[in-house]
Amino acid sequence: MKTHYGTYGGQYVAETLMKPLADMAVAYDEAKADPAFKREFDEILRDYVGRESPLTVCRRLSAHLGGAQIVLKREDLNHTGAHKVNNTIGQALLARRMGKKRLIAETGAGMHGVATATVAALFGMPCEVYMGAIDVKRQAPNVARMEMLGAKVHAVEEGSATLKDAMNEAIRDWVTNCDDTFYVIGTVAGPAPYPEMVRDFQSVIGVEARRQCLEKFGRLPDQAIACVGGGSNAMGLFAGFIDDADVRLVGVEAGGKGLATGEHAASINGGRLGVLHGAKTMLLQTDDGNILDTYSVSAGLDYPGVGPEHCHLHDTGRAEYSVINDDEAVAAFDALCRFEGIIPALESSHALAEAIKRAPSLPKDTILLVNLSGRGDKDMENIMKWKESRRSASGSSAKSEG
């Protein structure tokens, strides 16, 4: 088992969880070595998720920008509408293999909760999902989807009532029920072996994309760009290109209202070293070491930590991490809708915004591969509200200027 990534990672958990983690690591190593496990995983990804997901060249958007070619890896076309399901299938298969009877999960935007509820239904396992009470309100359609799929959703009222508090509550459930319960973590964070396991399950994104690029363009992309909250879609994309030194790996953090405002979720760019939820990683925290509330227009990036391997890739320079603010992400969202007829998730819009920023100054034969990690159906209400608030804000400032 890989436990540390440079100085990051590890197993910073209460003693009661050390045995379940050790059991999980052994079971995962055995599963990895078992061709039948891989076969079943691949089969479900093909027949149920609908993989492989296509590559789409953004012809009109690229022409409009007048520079590099933007190419999308279409994880939004997966069953359930995002990359999250790749991982939940893998973990549910492992849970079943370990004889666990019950799945629990945390969720922020609700996509991981939906993906866990989905596989729980597929495998006939009971499922409980913890979600911050604020997220329950702002992602109501996903709460309905989870309930429709038979999961029980717990609204977590305490702390900041967002993703980190949902994760705290999921850990409390797990520590109490670890004998029969498997905790399906949704990102490359948490104690070992989760960061490695989730990356492995998500690596299908990068492995497919690499092959598809070679088939379609006869060469690798110049840059592979993905948004980073916890960082599972980015790690999945990067995994395919990590050994290709010429492919620049670009992670994009949520800048919210701007790094300087303190209202953001950019742990690598705006945080410092800490320990939370089982891993040593970069964290948004107070001077005293308490964890800060985060902010982003996209609930799925709204997490104060980040996967430990991303911190390590940042330190070594193998990957670079930039920041995209709310307004840039929303502009990218609009652009993809209007130029390509694709409604992206607000999370993925951050990665797209970075590509849009970079494309104009790059030669036309440059390929920017963007992981379109999810679709934006879930974001309709939020984005309309966000635009409405911007309109009324600019309206009132115009009035005061007048």
């Binding site: 910073y12 003693e15 705290n168 109490t176 939370l276 005293d288 070491g289 964890i291």
Partner: protein
């Protein structure tokens, strides 16, 4: 040579034919001043060792009572430095009572392990219990604590194999083992698990240092039962709850 207050506290209790009473409070709940008064009351009421629970924003190992106390203390702005300052005042009044700084590792990492160890030593603390610093990760802190004369309190869970209990004891023989009675989070429970006494016997046979059992302990009967199989018992949530409700821990500490 620095006195080993922890070993002495267990030895004193043993000489008196009773288990040592380890008391946990969330520092700053309901207020810092009330914490200080409550610690005096605990010591007057028979507590042998005081655990200073330092409030953390994300108390994922705690039950509802201690979480609520932590959030309230944080709302009042209580920090690790406040807890250490209180420890120094308690040390001045109670020279023999061991003080364990009890929290989550991020608070210590954020301050810097070396700066923390120096401050904890200066405050007269004896040991650290970091809930999320298991055997595999603890050396990064323990190696810094030791030169400052501080030790660590390892947690032993119901599912910790005995070989691991033995490993956990190594290098911290001047401390005690905190044996968690149940799989789960902190909080008073009406019944302790029936297999607990066998488990305590097995742990006590495996190590030569004192062991104390906690999570769910709130009554005299539970404490006495644990006392037959361990060197001490730990009470937390029941004290925190009472202190929150009445503002004081005067009189009998156990129901």
């Amino acid at each position: 040579m620095k006195a080993n207050r922890i070993a002495n506290a267990f030895a004193r209790a043993k000489a008196e034919g009773r288990p040592a009473f380890v008391a946990y409070l969330t520092i700053g709940y309901p207020t810092l001043a009330k914490s200080e008064a409550a610690i005096d009351q605990l010591i007057a009421g028979g507590a042998d060792i005081i655990e200073f629970g330092v409030p953390f924003s994300d108390p994922f190992a705690d039950g509802a009572v201690i979480r609520a106390a932590a959030y309230e203390a944080l709302r009042q702005g209580v920090t690790l430095d406040n807890a250490l300052a209180l420890a120094a005042r308690v040390r001045a009044k109670h020279p023999d009572t061991p003080i364990v700084v009890f929290s989550y590792y991020n608070l210590i990492l954020s301050k810097g392990p070396e700066a923390f160890a120096a401050a904890a030593e200066a405050a007269g603390a004896d040991a650290v219990l970091a809930v999320d610093l298991p055997l595999e990760e603890r050396d990064e802190l323990l190696s810094v604590l030791k030169p400052h004369g501080l030790t660590m309190v390892p947690l032993i869970a119901p599912n910790t194999p005995i070989e691991r209990v033995v490993e956990s004891a190594k290098g911290v023989e001047d401390s005690f083992l905190y044996v968690i009675t149940v799989k789960g989070i902190t909080g008073a429970r009406a019944e302790l698990p029936p297999e607990l006494t066998d488990r305590l016997d097995a742990i006590r046979a495996a190590v030569s240092m004192p062991i104390a059992a906690g999570f769910g302990v709130s009554t005299k009967a539970q404490a006495a039962e644990i006392g037959r199989h361990a060197d001490g018992f730990i009470v937390g949530s029941a004290l925190v709850k009472r202190l929150g409700e009445t503002g004081s821990l005067e009189g009998d500490l156990l129901a």
